[in-house]
């Protein structure tokens, strides 16, 4: 399993639809500076940097080159990692693996995106196989709508179930000063918002944002010196699948099932709903906030709606999900998954401000990308 590693500092930008005050380099600098401040350290203490985004959103290759002043990467080992929506958790995983391997003592992960700089849907469509699936199935909304339709038919989930999740996350975002969309929203508001692709409505779906996030990972002996309450990595697991959309299992999500199963095994989790104190999950659409609970072993298959309706995932529930407002409130795509890890870490470190869940000992964070990739982090207050 390698060396034990903890998160010792986290920084993120104030996210927005258009950060026209800041270039890509400047949003990166904002996150890195805040992360160093949070860790009460300087770049001298950072041995290596992993950065990621998706080039086609900005049409600029080589962020690792032209952003080096904002990144602070001059004369350091800098690696770029890009895996679609999971980019944020993958830069986190790569940073963790780099530290756990013993090669570097402290590694900073940085995820960022300036989604205002292009047409996000057009750019996302370029991820689909160009000679087969780009015309009939590309984009983010359609596939998510399709999978929830199947789940509704199979298990009796409803549009209202998704609307409960959308209202939960959007209202949680009111407690998060960094969130992009901060507005009070009722279930009725969600239900009455414009239909995008049945059954997904406007307020069910994530926005696209400008923003960045940075997280510093340190090996045990350094982490203990740098931070009085590090968020220790108990597990970090990545699973990919997909050849064509038609090959996928649409009723549940095998990559998330496998990734969480392996992560729970590493972390000794047997009852996730009881053992996790909080979860920050990459749920790009509120429908996935219902459907994917099955695939994280939070309930039996098809029981996601019951769990949502019970209120168990609200701020005062047994397993609060997305106190930050999650992805439906904030989505700078290359940073989005790293923000999940960062928010989970802050929950453990007790630095989550108005969205803090009391006394968090174990936290779950996920990333979602491609179709359908899953990254999972389990963080703990105690050493693994």
């Amino acid at each position: 399993m390698g060396k034990r590693v903890g998160i010792v500092g986290v920084g993120q930008t104030h996210h927005a639809s258009h950060r026209l005050d800041a270039s890509g380099v400047e949003v990166i600098a904002e996150a890195v500076t805040r992360c160093l401040d949070d860790a009460q350290t300087t770049l001298d203490a950072v041995d290596a940097i992993i950065i990621g985004n998706m080039d086609h959103f900005e049409n600029i290759n080589y962020v690792d080159m032209w952003a080096v002043d904002g990144l602070g990467g001059c004369m350091k080992p800098v690696f770029k990692v890009t895996t679609g929506g999971t980019t944020g958790t993958t830069v986190g995983a790569a940073a963790y693996y780099s530290a756990a391997s013993g090669m570097f003592d402290t590694v900073m992960a940085v995820g960022w995106e300036k989604n205002s700089e292009s047409d996000t849907q057009a750019a996302i469509a370029t991820c689909a196989n160009p000679v087969l699936e780009r015309d009939p199935f590309a984009g983010a909304i359609g596939p998510l709508a399709t999978e929830y339709s199947m789940y509704m038919k199979a298990y009796g989930a409803t549009e209202e179930d998704a609307a409960i999740v959308a209202a939960r996350d959007r209202n949680n975002a009111l407690n998060n000063p960094y969130a992009h969309n901060r507005m009070h929203v009722t279930v009725e508001d969600v239900m009455n918002s414009p239909m995008l692709s049945y059954p997904v409505k406007f307020l069910d779906m994530c926005p696209r944002s400008d923003g960045a996030c940075a997280v510093i990972f340190a090996v045990e002996e350094k982490a203990k010196k740098m931070c009085d309450r590090p968020a220790w990595i108990h597990a970090s697991v990545v699973r990919h699948d997909y050849t064509h959309f038609g090959d996928l299992e649409w009723q549940w999500m095998p990559t998330l099932e496998r990734a969480t199963l392996q992560a729970y095994k590493y972390a000794g989790i047997t009852n996730p709903v009881k053992e996790f104190d909080v979860a920050e999950l990459y749920q790009p659409c509120s429908t996935t906030g219902v459907k994917w609970l099955d695939s994280m072993w939070f309930c039996e298959r098809g029981q996601g709606p019951k769990l949502i309706r019970s209120g168990a995932t609200h701020m005062d529930g047994i397993i609060p999900i997305n106190p930050s407002g999650g992805v439906v409130a904030t989505n700078p795509i290359g940073a989005t998954a790293l923000i999940r890890v960062a928010e989970a870490a802050w929950q453990i470190m007790g630095r989550a401000g108005d969205r803090q869940i009391p006394n968090v000992k174990k936290a779950l964070a996920t990333g979602f990308g491609g179709c359908s990739w899953s990254d999972v982090f389990v963080l703990g207050a105690d050493l693994p």
């Binding site: 026209l20 890509g24 400047e26 770049l43 002043d69 300036k114 292009s118 047409d119």
Partner: protein, 154 residues
């Protein structure tokens, strides 16, 4: 390779996704461009820690990672450090018809080189070490091409 044409029919799909891109210049460089556009001046910023003067300006000092709020006005003159003559046209990419000269210019008062075009001189007469000054467009819109080129000075 010789026979594949008899076995494989060539099928190639043209792309139709056209993504419109734009780039936020940001608070540091927009200040630089506004000074160039409105006052016709080239400014640099200086690291408060190590004193390195950067042109174009940096977001953070690449050596110290310090904020770069210390602005200095440059005379605009400089010295050609290295250059090339572009002869073959690259459609849609070049700022003007070849032949023209690309150069790295070490700017007076700054510690860094700046890349731009050299004009007002036959390409074959350009030399390393040549002193140059900027030639500005009369109508400026806050873009790197507000500097038409750098021309040799005595």
């Amino acid at each position: 390779m010789a026979d594949w044409k008899s076995e494989v029919e060539e099928v190639v799909f043209p792309g139709k996704i056209c993504v419109p891109y734009s780039w936020t210049v940001g608070s540091t460089l927009s200040r630089w461009y506004v000074q160039l556009r409105d006052d016709g001046e080239i400014w640099a910023n200086r690291c408060p820690s190590c004193g390195t003067v950067y042109v174009p300006p940096k977001i953070k000092c690449i050596k110290c990672y310090k904020d770069m709020n210390d602005w200095v006005k440059l005379p605009g003159t400089g010295t050609i450090e290295t250059f090339t003559v572009v002869n073959k046209e690259r459609p849609g990419l070049d700022p003007k018809k070849p032949p023209f000269v690309y150069a790295v210019i070490k700017m007076d008062g700054a510690d860094t080189g700046m890349v731009h075009l050299i004009g007002g001189v036959e390409p074959e007469k350009v030399k390393v070490g040549m002193r140059v000054a900027p030639v500005l467009e009369k109508e400026r819109d806050g873009h790197i091409t507000d500097i038409k080129h750098f021309k040799p000075i005595a």
